[in-house]
């Protein structure tokens, strides 16, 4: 099989003080730093050999939404690679207008947890390939979970959280991943609240737990600080794609450089 592993730059897009869409990147967990123009970044990563591009709308406001859809269209026009758009998608109509704006896939998080039928509705109307279910997982070291993994010699499970990790749901990530796939999700986008912003590497036990238990492709996210972390999440956890933000935005590594490094280690890459 020569299916390559995918390297996916991700941008978090918010409105700036003038009401224009702008990319912000988290530094040390909380502080968001202005990073650039979404369209310029899309163009740059498209040319640099990114395999896909993820656009997350973090405005979560009604007035932001209009601007965001226009921005999605402008990004799509420069993106000859697959474009996934997430943030605030809660209804079939949201899915439709996001796809119509030029997204190839939508990433749904809270909207699907609140109403799981949204997955079926989206898959039936637009195909499984465009329904990506995103989870914000948090480690829990108690007996309330269903699927346990070993972390630093301790047994833990992973809980789906909402509101950026501030609120738990009690739902086991692995169970939810299975259910999402059964309902027609075409891909799973796995974020880790524990690893997010650390740059210490992806949450390997989490990613592995999901990869081992579902047959849909898995995008690993959160925690990437170097190309070695990507190698680890592909080789040890079995992820199909690795997403990163700050290492690319702050030009610590170029997409091309990362892909060449991984290819040399024997990870199948599109070069």
């Amino acid at each position: 099989m020569t299916l390559t592993k995918r390297i996916i730059p991700c941008i978090d897009v918010d409105l700036d003080d003038d009401g224009n869409a702008a990319v912000y990147t988290g530094v040390n967990f909380e502080n968001l730093e202005y990073t650039g123009d979404p369209v310029e970044l899309a163009k740059k990563y498209n040319e640099a050999g990114a395999d896909e591009f993820v656009f997350l709308d973090i405005t979560a406001s009604a007035e932001g939404r209009e601007t965001m859809l226009d921005t999605v269209s402008a990004v799509a026009d420069e993106c000859f690679i697959p474009l996934t758009v997430g943030g605030g998608i809660r209804t079939k109509a949201d899915i439709k207008e996001t796809l119509r704006a030029g997204a190839d896939k939508v990433s749904i998080n809270t909207g699907a947890i609140e109403r799981p039928e949204l997955i079926e509705e989206g898959a039936a109307a637009f195909g499984s390939q465009c329904v990506v279910i995103s989870v914000d997982a948090r480690r829990r070291f108690d007996g309330d979970g269903e699927y346990y993994a070993e972390v630093d010699g301790e047994s833990c499970w992973f809980e789906c959280t909402v509101k950026g990790g501030r609120e738990g749901t009690g739902i086991d990530v692995v169970e939810w991943a299975r259910e999402s796939a059964d309902r027609g999700a075409g891909e799973l986008f796995v974020n880790s609240i524990d690893a997010d912003g650390t740059k210490d590497g992806y949450d390997i036990p989490l990613t592995k737990a999901v990869c081992d238990n579902v047959s849909t492709p898995v995008i690993a996210s959160s925690g990437c600080g170097s190309p070695a972390h990507m190698e680890e999440v592909f080789s040890e956890a079995g992820a199909d794609a690795a997403l990163a933000a700050s290492i690319f935005h702050f030009e610590e590594y170029s997409v091309d450089e990362v892909k060449r490094y991984l290819a040399e280690l024997g990870i199948p890459m599109r070069l």
């Binding site: 000859f80 465009c130 599109r270």
Partner: protein
């Protein structure tokens, strides 16, 4: 035959499915003048027709129903007809997909006789991502792309009756056709999405535009 340089007039069939915006942008970038159309009358005036598509086979055929005769007529008249992803699968005769979802015997356009099969070798389905193209025979659409990568998203793959219909293949546990074409050469399709396959995809779209002008 064109003597002076002119733009290829390409009709993109709008039958309610597919990411038309991306395909339009890709074709425009490749130098085509694109018209979105849900009127079969437009097909005759076009230099080429593109049948896009994502989603399910039976739904695709149902939605494309009103265009069936016009598409078959255009193909038989020798007009270039390019199916993308589901649009390519619809060029064949049938699909296991319509059986799986219990919608009975849905007939494709039957321009490239054969069926569409589901991956069943334990691969992750859908086959999603970038995979390598191996060109197995010459066709204008496939020029310059051997060994390059293209972006695939699909759960079924074409199995044409005639092996000569295969222009390029890809390996995903099973070797399957990535590009197919009819005997006359004017009806062809890619299982992958050229509009999402970076520079390689744009090359294929340019090949198509060039073919439309010849």
């Amino acid at each position: 035959m064109s003597i002076t340089q002119r733009t290829a007039e390409v009709v993109l069939v709008d039958y309610g499915l597919g990411n038309l915006r991306s395909v339009t942008r890709g074709l425009e970038r490749a130098g085509a003048d694109v018209t979105l159309s849900d009127d079969p009358a437009d097909f005759d005036a076009a230099d080429g027709i593109v049948l896009p598509g994502v989603g399910a086979f039976s739904e695709g055929m149902e939605n494309a129903g009103p265009f069936r005769d016009a598409l078959v007529d255009a193909a038989e008249a020798g007009r270039p007809l390019f199916g993308i992803c589901l649009g390519m699968q619809m060029l064949l005769t049938s699909s296991e997909e319509s059986e799986t979802v219990g919608q009975g015997d849905v007939t494709g356009l039957d321009l490239v006789p054969g069926t569409n099969l589901r991956f069943d070798q334990g691969q992750k389905v859908p086959h999603m991502g970038w995979n390598e193209l191996a060109v197995s025979r010459e066709h204008p659409i496939a020029e310059g792309i051997d060994g390059e990568y293209a972006y695939f998203v699909h759960s079924y793959y074409a199995d044409p009756d005639d092996e000569n219909a295969i222009v390029a293949t890809t390996d995903y546990g099973v070797e399957f056709p990535a590009i197919i074409a009819n005997e006359a050469g004017n009806v062809f399709g890619t299982q992958f999405h050229p509009e999402k396959s970076g520079e390689t995809g744009l090359r294929i779209l340019r090949n198509f535009v060039q073919y439309c002008l010849e």
